[in-house]
């Protein structure tokens, strides 16, 4: 394991509020690891502890089997962090930003040129280097934010929601770049609220809620073992809720959204037979019916509940 936490706890304030509670996490070397959790679950605190920014209250963090405290300098030198906020200087040009952070990292000579080129090429910023960051679009700012995180050619890259507030094209570009980095051997620890993104991108995932790891595994294994089979009925009209009231009471029927009904079952034909009359009514506008494993989002919601989290703790 690259990163391993053993009974990791973190408390804040007085009286102490536990933000992380007995967290046991294993992040394999070379993985593209998705860390999921609702707002206030403890993701940011966990990332802060793994990157050595925030001290833990108790427990252990091991990096390649060595306690983090014993190798913090080395870990920082080989780790890139891309925070959720745009951690750059808007008044400086992209190149000034890169040069400044390269200086801060102590990069010199050919290594410096090579690393800046690597960061610029990976994020395709070549044509924007002399523009001030404050003149950039949201997508370009995100790319510059990632480029700064790549300046030390990290072996481990922490990405905290790097696709927030950007257009689909930039999102696609960033996700492809991340895959490419992972293929080159960079271990990536990735947090996002976009479940489809994580499902498509990551090969390992952990779900954290209220400071506790609920589940962690390879994503395929997870969906195979934990994900239940479900029948998804999609309507062309926003009629899912209305129809749910008319259907016989299935114990595991949920309204996924205004267009979609989901029934958790291992026998889809029984369900279809029971509601065939409603399904065949053209007024209900059934578009398609699918049967298969739960999506990551459904698994996430089934584990964390669908209530909104108003008492966020970072």
């Amino acid at each position: 394991m690259l990163y391993q936490t053993i009974d990791l706890c973190k408390e804040y304030g007085r009286p102490p509020l536990a933000v992380l509670n007995q967290v046991n996490l294993n992040i394999p070397k070379g993985s593209l690891f998705g860390l999921l959790g609702p707002n206030g679950a403890g993701k940011t605190t966990l990332l802060s502890i793994l990157t050595g920014i925030t001290p833990k209250t108790s427990g252990q963090v091991l990096v390649n089997g060595v306690p983090l405290e014993a190798c913090i300098e080395e870990v920082r030198a080989t780790t890139g962090v891309v925070p959720q906020d745009l951690a750059l200087y808007p008044m400086l040009t992209a190149l000034d930003n890169l040069n400044f952070f390269a200086d801060v990292l102590g990069l010199k000579g050919a290594k410096r040129t090579q690393n800046i080129d690597y960061a610029v090429t990976t994020t395709a910023l070549n044509h924007h280097l002399n523009k001030k960051a404050q003149e950039f679009s949201g997508g370009l700012k995100r790319r510059l934010n990632i480029a700064i995180g790549l300046l030390n050619q990290p072996a481990v890259l922490f990405l905290d929601e790097p696709t927030v507030g950007i257009d689909p094209q930039t999102r696609h570009f960033i996700l492809e770049s991340i895959k490419s980095l992972n293929r080159e051997g960079v271990t990536i620890i990735y947090t996002s609220h976009y479940m489809d993104e994580v499902q498509n991108l990551c090969n390992h995932v952990a779900i954290i809620d209220r400071g506790t790891i609920l589940i962690q595994d390879e994503i395929n294994q997870l969906l195979r073992h934990q994900g239940k089979n479900e029948l998804r009925i999609h309507f062309s009209t926003q009629n899912a809720e209305n129809l749910a009231r008319q259907l016989p009471a299935f114990p595991h029927l949920t309204v996924t959204d205004a267009h979609t009904l989901t029934v958790e079952t291992s026998n889809p034909f029984t369900v279809i037979q029971a509601i065939s009359e409603k399904l065949s009514d053209p007024e209900n506008g059934v578009e398609h019916i699918a049967y298969g494993q739960q999506s990551l989002e459904a698994l996430f919601l089934s584990l964390t509940g669908s209530d909104t989290r108003d008492n966020d703790v970072r």
Binding site: I53, A77, M91, L92, F100, F101, D103, V104
Partner: protein, 408 residues
Amino acid sequence: MSGKFIALVKKEFIVLAKDWHGLMVLFLMPAAFILIMSMAMENAFGEHKRLSISYTLLNQSHTPLPAALLEKLNTIPGFDLVPLPNESTRESVSRGIIEGNYQLAIIIPNDFRQRLTTTMQGTESTLPQTAELLLAPTVKPYIQQIFTASLSAILIRQKIDWMLNEGTAPDAAPLVPQSTLDQLGQLNLGATHIYSGADVAPSTPNAVQQNVPAWLVFAMFFVAIPLSTVFLIEKQQGTLLRLRVMNIDAPTILLGKLVPYFCVNQIQMVVMIAIGILIVPLLGGQNLSLPHSMLGLMLISSACSIAAIGFALMVATMVRTTMQATTIGGVVNIIFGALGGIMVPKFIMPETMQTLTYLSPMSWGLEGFLDLFLRQSGWQAVLPEALYLSTFGLLCTTIAAYRFNKAY
């Protein structure tokens, strides 16, 4: 580490240079205050500089006054004699006071000599009134006292002359010679200003010498607002966090902020002194005399800057929003300024308030600058103030480093 520190300082300079609007405020604000306040307070400081009160003299006696007496009345220091037209009366003189032509008038009665030389047993109040003094209501009591004392001395000398030489023929030699009488009235009460720089000629305080140091100190502390705001923006943007992840420790980050703003403070000092020397005289104010000790100037200016930036860093690490930084930084600066003798000169405050000024670090800075600009002291004189300011600055920076370290 030094390369990282240089990178931080360089970046801060670039950011400062790109925010030239914000930078200009740090220079224009004190410059405007220096010019406005130096002009506005010119007269207030002038009163301390030289007394200049106009008065007149109405002789109602039938005989002309002795030349020696007239000469003495003409030369009361700080009082200018305004001549009266020939047909003047007590009423016209009173009108002249009301119209503001003069502030004081001496009315000599027609039996002046007799009244002056009358000797009686008893107190002064039983003597006939020798002369009458008319005063404008605006004449302050201490001005009246100065004038009355001077007039009394002149009249006593005349009384002695008349009494001792009474009965001698006009063309005969006086019993008491004029030179002896003059010597009788001579008294030299020397007044010496005490300055710490013994070999330096004393300099008289003027408006510009008060206002340049005062508003310079205020402007130096004013960096609290831009510095704390920039610091908070970087905190909110996550750049400070990124620097910490990149192995930059808290003291280096804080020091990286201190150095560029220290340079800004020193440039502020040069510009404000230049305004005092070159611009204020052009607008009719008095010019600023450069201090005798340049080392002293560097010492107090550096200490003041350390205090100002330390305070700014402490504010930056104690507040949560830029709004709080602007409000708290601004309000505390104004309180420091009001208490520290920036807005109201310390020497016109009541004694209790003068003692309270020591609570404000701006007062320490101002006193240090005044030691140099007004008292022309040597560098040793500013050592206590420089020490207080540096200690204050380092204490604030330590608190800032502790809080910053705790936050990240």
